[in-house]
């Protein structure tokens, strides 16, 4: 089941450089929320705060609160948090030294699950959800690097799903993919939202319009507008949103 997120006055820094300015945002559970905005506006920084990946960079810090079903993530253990809040990165990053199978179950195995049967079941289930099972079922022992870019990205999605998070963060998961692979990932996102809360960063506004229930527009580290996707694209309240979606800048 998905969990809801509530972002309160979130600010983020890289060293002395402030990149997010007082973000307040409600993210509903079991919905797809798209984050759009021009390059460098802080989209990646924002979603990297949600699983506290931002904190892992030297010199980076964040203040404010992010409530995951009411509990402040900054008050709890980040390693635990990341088992609940999964992430798929912009560029596919399978573990090079692992087979396809080991990639998928890495999160389970390296967190102590030894039961072979359970691992197998989890691998098949996640690969099925990521629409990759049929393509790889006969070569699970091959290296993860032997897959195409699009397959690798679906492998990374399967890997994130295998640990059964309740929130899935996706940072431009389709930006390196061709239109067909992109379409498959979009279908996947739509299917997954019954079990997950999904936050997806995208540069592609058609994509946001196709898959997102709500859309948030970021500009220069600020959240300009957040609402139902149809409202953002049809009747934006803020002039800057309108300029952006009509292609006047960015």
């Amino acid at each position: 089941m998905g969990q809801s997120l509530s972002v309160r006055n979130l600010e983020a820094w890289y060293g002395s450089n402030k990149t997010l300015h007082g973000i307040n945002m409600e993210i509903a559970k079991n919905e797809v929320t798209a984050i759009i905005g021009p390059s460098g506006c802080g989209k990646s920084t924002f979603i990297r705060c949600i699983n506290r990946m931002h904190d892992t960079l030297p010199g980076a810090k964040a203040t404010g609160e992010i409530l995951l079903d009411g509990a402040n993530i900054y008050a709890n253990d980040p390693v635990e948090l990341r088992r609940t809040v999964g992430m798929v990165f912009q560029k596919p990053n399978p573990f090079p030294a692992m087979s396809i199978f080991d990639n998928v179950v890495a999160g389970l195995k390296l967190n102590g699950m030894r039961n072979k049967k359970k691992l197998k079941e989890a691998a098949e289930k996640s690969l099925n959800m990521a629409a990759l099972w049929d393509e790889v079922k006969d070569r699970l022992g091959h290296s993860g690097m032997s897959l195409s870019g699009g397959q690798q990205q679906r492998l990374c999605i399967a890997r994130a799903l295998a640990v059964e998070p309740s929130v899935l963060l996706m940072d431009e998961p389709a930006s390196a993919l061709d239109p067909i692979a992109t379409l498959r990932i979009e279908e996947l996102v739509t299917q997954l939202k019954s079990s997950y809360t999904i936050v997806i960063v995208t540069h592609n506004m058609q994509q946001a319009a196709r898959i997102a229930d709500s859309t948030a527009f970021f500009l220069n580290g600020e959240l300009v507008e957040h609402g139902a996707t149809s409202d953002i694209f049809m009747t934006p309240r803020d002039k800057r949103t309108e300029d952006y979606i009509t292609g006047r800048f960015g």
Partner: protein, 278 residues
């Protein structure tokens, strides 16, 4: 006109590079050929299986020195490789930028350049004198000290080649940092680390100076690591500086075996590296 000149200069430069390469190869093949010519007659099964015999008797081999060198390499590897790899993990994964790691890196570089005889003297003073006897163990320690900086530096380079996104992928799955390093980052860099370590082993296999004050050498088998132990470079030194022709021949044979040992180590390392790149 201009085009012609460019071609001409090009050919000239190519000739220059080729000649320089050839000149560089002359001493290399000279050494190999000379050792081979002088040593090959005396490398036989007996050489690998028999102990040295006293002057005047025929036959005899360097079995104890060959085994001794392997034992010394083993001690040095068991001590030096894990320490080197762990230190490199600290430097790349935990503390890339502080003054402390800068100091360690600087020291490592200095240590790489220190003549190995000095390391021998230090180990002699610190261990041999304290324990009141020469030993295989102290020889292994001296070789380990020479290996450590080489292993640190090569492992560091290999770990740096692992993209940061791989580490983030590990963290993003809720895998603790130490586990990500040991089970994801290290295996990704494994082949390179193995190659670097093998080259470090090859580097110390032929060291002579530090063993003079530590392992000392031994005419017989060493029965434990607390006794002086024979080593190929030491036997070569001893035999080659003796006045006897028969011993000179043994020294050549020992040299040939040592060269082959180093070549085998190097070749294995490079082979491992090749499969990594494919």
């Amino acid at each position: 006109m201009k085009k012609h000149r460019r071609k001409y200069v090009n050919a000239l430069m190519l000739a220059l590079f080729s000649i320089a390469t050839l000149i560089a190869l002359v001493p290399l093949f000279g050494v190999l050929g000379y050792v081979f010519k002088n040593g090959v007659m005396d490398v036989n099964l007996k050489f690998f299986l028999d102990l040295p015999v006293p002057m005047g008797m025929t036959g005899g081999g360097m079995a104890n020195a060959i085994v001794g060198t392997l034992i010394l390499i083993a001690i040095a590897s068991v001590l030096g490789i894990p320490i080197g790899i762990l230190a490199a993990i600290y430097l790349t994964e935990y503390d890339r930028l502080s003054w402390f790691s800068t100091l360690i890196r600087f020291t490592t570089d200095v240590l790489t350049g220190i003549p190995s005889i000095i390391i021998g003297i230090v180990v002699y003073t610190a261990i041999v004198v304290k324990m009141k006897h020469f030993s295989a163990f102290s020889g292994g320690i001296a070789l380990a000290i020479i290996m450590i900086p080489v292993v640190i530096r090569s492992t560091e380079e290999m770990l740096k080649l692992v993209p940061h996104t791989i580490r983030e992928a590990g963290y993003a799955l809720g895998i603790p940092r130490w586990r990500t390093i040991i089970q994801i980052v290290l295996p990704t860099a494994a082949k390179g680390i193995v190659t670097g370590s093998m080259l470090a082993v090859a580097r110390v296999a032929g060291e002579t100076a530090p063993l003079l004050f530590t392992a000392l050498g031994n005419q017989y088998w060493a029965h434990n690591l607390n006794q002086p132990i024979a080593a190929l470079p030491l036997s070569i030194y001893e035999y080659a500086t003796s006045p006897y022709k028969q011993w000179h021949e043994q020294a050549w044979a020992g040299s040939l075996v040592l060269i082959f040992l180093v070549i085998i180590l190097n070749a294995t390392a490079r082979l491992a590296f090749r499969t990594r790149n494919n």
